[in-house]
């Protein structure tokens, strides 16, 4: 059964049809209604059975109306129940004394002996012959007794406590044979669609009903629309990967071709030197970059290109002063875990320069690695999103225009740009967007025009400009899905419930 039926099914099982019909007959016979407690007493069933029947009838619609009432009610205590069944202690003492009497010591051995003896004595039902030979002996003084205590208790037990006077009831209460309790009961009256016969309600439509068409005559139990449905049995995509899919989609919509970024291990040459990032640059420090001990070095470079890179760093050229330092191949050979996917962009642009130039638009979204201090928003690895356009005569205005189009697809239209520094782009711009929630400008990405010292040694034509931008995948995902600790999103400490519950990803809404 579905959750919608669960409530009525369980109630239905509490009262069988017989009880329901009997109850309806009782209600029919009176004009002003019946009390559920009185019905239970008169039928000799537990009150809960009648309560169940009331609820079942209510679930059928407006057959009856039931009003909850509470009333004071006298009930037998455990001792009172025992007395109602077996008689009062004094009556039991009386009845166990034979004609020839009973030794007092024998009587006292009985469980009710002590209390019963004193009560029977004060009622003058028995006497003690203290001088009897063989010890004190007890004899009846009357032929028969009237056990009023028991009779009163029996009246209460049968629900006729009204026949007792208040004084009598309080006396029994004092003896701890009666107690007063509050009872909740229903006052049951006829409903608008009252009837003494019940049509059995169906829980669900069945194939048989459809085949025979008898669903037309059936009554169906109402569903409980307040309940939740049953969760479907399904798998889930990871939220970060859902966002990645959307970014991929945006780039594809904008005509960008995906770069092969499946190479986490990169040489310092392609990661730094080819990008005109000097060998003493802090990013190339042990503190910032993961170096490899095995395989420690890259062993193959395009030799003539490497010479041109060496020259532009150490001596300049292509209109540049260079950095004027002693460029070392040993530094360039050092293998690292790439610190940005721009290393792949460099490889792609070098490859492009080896052919007859045609304009390109490239993108990638993949992992990069930083040996940095970790906190709630920073991990040693994250996903970098990167876009690159290479064409003749691109301007800074073009870069801003492309960024505007890209961010518009993310639902971000208010952008502004701040001058920044980056070793391989000039000009460099930080991209800020206005955050409506925080009421301030927040940084959403980095961008720039690749330096001639990077492009010209590759062999790209002098009038070709390459514009590029980058951002992290994790940050927009955390904002999108309201995640504060990055470890709940990425890595094995992920909260799977969050993965199960995460909605589809539409970046522009």
């Amino acid at each position: 059964p579905t959750a919608y039926c669960l409530a009525s099914v369980s109630l239905y099982s509490m009262a069988d049809t017989g009880v329901l019909e009997t109850l309806l007959q009782r209600v029919e016979k009176v004009d002003d209604g019946v009390d559920s407690l009185a019905v239970a007493t008169s039928l000799g069933v537990d009150h809960q059975v009648i309560v169940g029947a009331v609820k079942s009838l209510q679930a059928l619609g407006d057959v009856i109306s039931a009003e909850l009432r509470s009333s004071k009610h006298w009930e037998l205590t455990e001792e009172g129940t025992e007395i109602a069944e077996q008689g009062s202690h004094e009556s039991r003492v009386f009845s166990c004394i034979p004609q020839e009497g009973l030794a007092q010591s024998e009587l006292m051995k009985l469980p009710f002996g002590k209390i019963g003896f004193s009560k029977a004595m004060s009622s003058k039902w028995i006497r003690v012959d203290k001088a009897h030979e063989g010890g004190p002996r007890i004899f009846r003084t009357v032929e028969s007794i009237d056990d009023q205590v028991r009779e009163k208790l029996l009246l209460v037990q049968k629900g006729h406590s009204t026949q007792l006077e208040e004084k009598e009831k309080n006396e029994l209460k004092k003896r701890k044979l009666l107690s007063e309790v509050t009872v909740k009961s229903y006052w049951i009256t006829k409903g608008n669609s009252f009837s003494t016969t019940i049509t059995k309600q169906e829980t669900e439509l069945t194939p048989e009903m459809i085949a025979s068409g008898n669903w037309k005559e059936k009554k169906f139990k109402p569903y409980n629309f307040e309940a939740m449905g049953v969760a479907p049995d399904c798998g889930h995509l990871h939220p970060l990967m859902k966002v990645r899919t959307q970014f991929r989609q945006i780039f594809l919509e904008m005509g960008f071709t995906e770069m092969p970024t499946n190479n986490f291990i990169e040489s310092s040459f392609w990661n730094f030197d080819s990008l005109f990032q000097p060998q003493q640059h802090p990013a190339r420090d042990q503190h910032d970059t993961f170096f490899l001990s095995d395989p420690a070095h890259a062993h193959e470079f395009p030799q003539d290109y490497l010479e041109r890179v060496k020259k532009v760093h150490s001596e300049g050229g292509y209109g540049s002063q260079g950095y004027k330092y002693d460029w070392k191949i040993e530094e360039a050979q050092k293998n690292i875990l790439r610190t940005h996917t721009t290393a792949v962009s460099a490889r792609m642009l070098y490859k492009l320069a080896q052919q007859k130039f045609t304009p390109v638009k490239y993108f990638s979204i993949d992992r990069v690695f930083r040996n940095e201090t970790l906190d709630a928003t920073h991990l040693a690895e994250f996903h970098q999103i990167e876009g690159v356009v290479a064409d003749y005569g691109l301007t800074l205005g073009d870069l801003m225009g492309v960024l505007h189009q890209f961010f518009t697809k993310l639902g971000i239209t208010k952008l502004r740009f701040k001058p920044a520094y980056n070793p391989y782009t000039e000009p460099s711009m930080e991209v800020f967007s206005y955050h409506e929630g925080l009421k301030k400008w927040v940084e959403v990405g980095n961008s720039g025009v690749f330096r001639p010292e990077m492009l010209l040694p590759m062999g790209l034509p002098e009038d070709v400009s390459v514009i590029a931008w980058g951002l992290s995948l994790e940050r927009p995902t955390m904002i999108k899905y309201g995640i504060n600790n990055i470890r709940e999103l990425v890595g094995h400490k992920v909260n799977l419930q969050m993965v199960y519950d995460s909605p589809i990803c539409r970046l522009d809404s």
Binding site: H238, L252, Q280, F290, L396, D398, G401, P427
Partner: protein
Amino acid sequence: MPTVGVKRDLLFKALGRSYTDEEFDELCFEFGLELDEITSEKEIISREQGDTKASGASDVILYKIDVPANRYDLLCLEGLVRGLQVFKNKLEVPRYKRVSPLSGEPQKLIITKETEAVRPHAVAAVLRNITFTQERYDSFIELQEKLHQNICRKRSLVAIGTHDLDTISGPFTYTAKRPGDISFKPLNQTKEYTATQLMSLYKTDSHLRHYLHIIEDKPLYPVIYDSNGVVLSMPPIINGDHSKISLKTKNVFIECTATDQTKAKTVLDMMVTMFSEYCAQPFTYELAYRKEKLSGKFINQKVGINESTEKIAHLLTRMCLLSQATGAGDEIEVEIPPTRSDIIHACDIMEDAAIAYGFNNITRTTPRTYTVANQFPLNKLTELLRQDLAAAGFTEALNFALCSQEDIAEKLGKKISEMRAVHISNPKTAEFQVARTTLLPGLLKTIAANRKMPLPLKLFEISDVVLKDETKDVGARNSRRFCAVYYNKSPGFEVIHGLLDRTMQLLEVKPARGEGYHIQTADDSTFFPGRCADIFVRGKNVGRLGVLHPDVINRFELTMPCSALEMDIEPFL
């Protein structure tokens, strides 16, 4: 990005006006700076050391300003103010000139060849008739520290020493000696020490101990003497006490020793240009000004604007690059001052023109670049498979590419030497010892971290592992893997096997030996004996599946049986 702390009121006094925090933030943004924080000494101490330590500290407002990493000329109040005032047309571009001493004889610093093996370069200059105040003096010391931490790469590339010239006499000698042969009274000490003693003395100095490694292992240590044999400094560690500067110092001798001559010159230029402002004849210090010629068209085309040659020259001048139209067509002559070591190419000049124009005043245009998009085939396959694996009831996990050796070896019942793993030489913790060679440990750790979730747990991941590969230029390559695990009260091999069947159906491979796929019993210490099989596709082994070995389950802190599948997906391209 270096951060410079300046006193707000001092800054506004120098700028000749005050700003609201918002106004100053805007100005910074436009110029490429960032007003990072508004604080006070008291607030900083209270944050770092608690309120009690902070009582009595100054509550003068400080602006913490982030400066681009290549703009060494903005690392002190003097430079910041000069840059902003010129930018706002309130100050002419200063012109730095060298003057000769009254005696006519310039000071000399003689470099001996012994320095070659340890720290071969040195440059020096003198600031004459300078007037220090407490604030100027503090800024002077602070600039040295900023330069040391940034361009000087913690003194390894360049170290700066400043001396009261009136306490010493030239010519000076920069040489290198055995540590035992160097002896002097270092700055702020009361007695003489040999260099050897100093190195052990400073082992515990919270500041200086970071620089000892630069010369520690060298047979000879660098040292500078005056003509009377007074030690000026033992670079890059410490100066001598004898020549220390004070508020009363009138003539400052500045030396920069270095392993990189270009940077030494840049640093010396910075020290001198920044503080020559306080000399009797301001900015008197002659330096190599460089002249560059470029066309207005170049700037207009690269930035995407259309301004007259004169306007562009004016824009550049506002960035402290004194420029003028030469009259020959649209030619502009630009003078690069010694303060702007960051200008090494015409594109750097172009950027300054764009900044002065205002990035946000540039019209945003759409390039007409026509291209057809292509997906990277491996990523396309990955994207398509992920969708259908989720549809098959498995949930996607996303684990780190880096992990411990233990994760990919011992815990899986393997030896690290047998894995073709790449090893990281400088991991800060064990979590970053190697790149993963298998996706399985990550998925098992994901389960361990989610044991409270209802069973069964069905997880998958499609991602890259890294393997050593001699045929690649870097000696390693990525391999795209598909891994899935099923974790429940029973091993569920049939579930994982069924997932393999479904995957093959998706990849259009039929169950058959030869041209199709089949599985075949295999031995693997990660799996329970007899419950492991190799996956063969068109005769090639592409992966493995099976019921995990109980020892593996225990080592990953799991308690239930588990079956797993891992295979290479690149053969399906």
